[in-house]
């Protein structure tokens, strides 16, 4: 068995590959260029987008910082209306519960709407291993499922693919005719999926918000696939991270437009649905059972870090990816994470280990575009710095410490500094001997750039000379 590469090795290999793939990058740039225009237009329709951001941040702050209280409130309200809550500490518990439910109820086929939490816990693999047919109904997720690839972007799963590639994929997997029309490709998926909605006996969804006040979950989508997934099968399971909490139903009146604006540049996405239980007496359809799986999976680890707790305010709009110069160049797969881009770089170290994932926090220009784009004001780029600091504090590298110790001692003594400056040109002569070899101590730099030459005369000496000449 070939073992998977270390996350940082995989990251650098994949990042290098995408960076060299100019046509792919052009496709990503084009897709995101449209986003920028649409978002700008929608944002400017707000009386004050900045005040709206503050208000949205305040709502999420309240929900996350009193999470225990609101989780209890949600559970009470939700179960009172016939819903079932399952509390999962980790991915194994969540998978086991859903598998157990499928087994117990004699489920045969499962239809899924988009849920990043299910990517996080590798739910499809677990279900398929047990023999259940699982089909992703969101168009982008469906394409990625057929590609046997994880989503490229957590809002736009197949934004990196060109229509020819999707047409070839459908030809191969679904036996459809070749076409270069996005509309025809969409209709192929639509026709294929219809049967699945009707035949499936379990529908699995994610959730964008948990509403404590009324015991509901809210799902935002454009295609209608989540609505069908939650309307027709007799069991509905929603898998949601605990941090999706908002205190009041009315809070959605702000968060839904902001999610749409920041996510896709729409005023409101096509369907914003709220689910408060299974089919109620007097209603003519809907599932008989509604289970909400509340997922921790290390979210409480991030919650326990007050400095970065606001990263849990994230509403997964994907805006920070869309504006990120790093994402645009290295693409979504290089990250190797469920959540890509700046927010993924912030939270993944908390979820999966700082030392293994600290390299993501280094892959940043710290331009702050992510922080500026965030509709709930997460201090994203500073958290990247916090991760870097924490990684070093947690595991100090002896030679790095030695170098810094030497540097400090040198800088404290002007005479030592002067000697060092005199020796620099000599050092550079010696450097020329190892330039381009593995012995080059600054090889990472000189691989792609010339090392600056030390001046023949220091500024200090020049100034002294100039002063003397003027006298």
């Amino acid at each position: 068995m070939i073992s998977a590469p270390e996350p940082s090795t995989q990251f650098h290999t994949d990042a290098d590959r995408t960076t060299a793939d100019e046509p792919r990058r052009a496709a990503v740039r084009k897709a995101l260029g449209n986003y920028k225009v649409a978002r700008g237009k929608t944002e400017s329709a707000f009386t004050s987008w900045e005040h709206a951001r503050d208000a949205a941040a305040a709502i999420k702050y309240e929900g996350v910082n009193h999470l225990d209280k609101y989780l209890r409130e949600f559970e009470e309200k939700f179960t009172a209306r016939g819903g079932k809550v399952f509390w999962a500490s980790n991915s194994a518990q969540a998978r086991e519960y859903i598998l157990g439910l499928a087994r117990e109820r004699g489920v045969k086929s499962i239809v899924k709407s988009k849920a990043m939490t299910s990517e996080e816990i590798h739910l499809n693999d677990a279900l398929e291993k047990e023999g259940y047919a699982v089909v992703e109904s969101d168009l982008g997720e469906f394409i990625q499922q057929l590609m046997h690839e994880p989503p490229y972007h957590f809002v736009f799963p197949c934004m990196h693919l060109k229509r020819e590639e999707i047409s070839a994929l459908f030809e191969r997997e679904l036996g459809s005719a070749k076409t270069d029309s996005p509309e025809e490709l969409t209709m192929i998926a639509r026709r294929f999926m219809r049967r699945h909605y009707i035949d499936a006996d379990m529908g699995i969804s994610g959730g964008n918000f948990i509403v404590a006040e009324t015991g509901m979950i809210s799902i935002t989508e454009n295609e209608g696939n989540a609505r069908l997934t939650t309307a027709l099968p007799k069991i509905h399971v929603a898998l949601i991270g605990i941090e999706k909490m908002v205190p009041k139903l009315a809070d959605l009146a702000l968060l839904l437009p902001m999610l749409a604006t920041a996510g896709t540049g729409q005023h409101l996405t096509c369907y914003n649905s709220i689910y408060g239980g299974p089919r109620q007496p007097g209603e003519l359809d809907g599932p008989e059972e509604f289970h909400v799986v509340l997922l921790d999976n290390h979210r409480t680890r991030l919650l326990a870090d007050p400095e970065q707790r606001d990263a849990l305010h994230c509403i997964r709009c994907g805006a920070c990816l869309n504006v990120c110069p790093i994402f645009k160049n290295i693409g979504g797969h290089a990250y190797g994470t469920t959540y890509q881009g700046p927010i993924g770089s912030v939270i993944t170290p908390h979820f999966r280990g700082l030392q293994d994932w600290k390299h993501l926090s280094g892959a940043s220009s710290l331009c702050g575009a992510c922080t500026e784009a965030c509709p709930v004001k997460i201090d994203i780029h500073h958290h990247l710095l916090h991760n870097r600091r924490n990684a070093v504090q947690e595991q100090k590298v002896w030679w790095e410490r030695l170098i810094w110790f030497g540097f400090v001692e040198l800088m404290k003594r002007p005479w030592a500094f002067k000697i060092a400056m005199r020796l620099a040109p000599l050092g550079q002569k010696l450097h020329a001997l190892v330039l381009g070899t593995p012995l080059d101590p600054v090889g990472a730099w000189t691989k792609t750039r010339a090392f600056p030459q030390a001046a023949a005369q220091s500024f200090h000496d020049y100034w002294q000379e100039r002063k003397a000449a003027r006298k």
Binding site: A31, T47, V85, S89, L228, C270, Y271, E283, F290
Partner: protein, 229 residues
């Protein structure tokens, strides 16, 4: 069986012992309009008069590619539906019972077969319908959205399974924004909300292929909103 409830809640409480710093400003102005939605004034402006709100809804409908039509009466609305039926070759229309829906149904051409789903329905039969006619809870001017619920609009599937969704609403159902729509629901249902509430903004859509807009991804390809006095 509810899983790791105690352990999970204990971890949450423990994690929250140290308060987090604020990265945002506290709301700089006191709430003026409403207690439940103090953020209202930052959202895109909506006119105060009903006429302005209808005009804004019409404008948003155009952007969303919703067909929006003001009709003088339910009979006129039925006439428009008859035209659509002829144009698109509809054979069957699914609908639920309701004051407005029934008024429209009474004037529909006899050639159009009606599937009434109030007593339950067969999924394949509903799927085979050419259109679904529903009432709604409210129309939201700010976003051009139609608020439907399991109670007001014939359950969950009628408004999403057939390829053309038709909404019949009266002028009095127009509300300025989402917050007002929630207030209306809270007032109407109290603690017994319908199990399903949805804000529909235009026909189903996707941009998943090269970010190019395609209508009718999985839900209706067309949405028609008919407004009667």
């Amino acid at each position: 069986m509810n899983g790791d409830r105690a352990a999970l809640l204990a971890r949450v409480t423990e994690a929250l012992r140290v308060p987090a710093p604020l990265h945002h400003e506290k709301p700089s102005k006191p709430a003026t309009h409403s207690v439940t939605a103090p953020f209202r004034e930052w959202l895109p402006p909506v006119g105060a008069s009903p006429a302005e709100q209808v005009a804004l809804f019409a404008k948003q409908s155009e952007v969303l590619r919703t067909e929006f039509l003001e009709c003088p009466s339910p009979e006129a609305a039925a006439q428009h539906l008859g035209k659509l039926a002829q144009e698109h070759g509809w054979k069957r229309l699914a609908m639920h019972r309701g004051r407005l829906a029934d008024a429209v149904a009474a004037s529909l051409p006899g050639s159009l077969e009606l599937l009434r789903i109030d007593g339950g329905y067969e999924k394949n039969a509903l799927e085979a319908c050419d259109a679904g006619l529903t009432e709604c809870e409210s129309l939201v001017a700010q976003t051009g959205s139609v608020c439907v619920t399991a109670r007001s609009s014939g359950g969950r599937a009628l408004s999403v399974l057939p390829p053309h969704h038709i909404v019949i609403a009266s002028r009095g159902q127009m509300v300025p924004d989402l917050a007002a729509a929630y207030e209306h629901l809270a007032g109407k249902y109290g603690a017994t909300y319908p199990s399903f509430i949805s804000f529909i903004s235009g026909p189903s859509r996707t941009g998943d292929i090269e970010r190019i807009l395609v209508l009718g991804a999985h839900g209706p390809k067309k949405l028609t909103v008919l407004l009667v006095p």
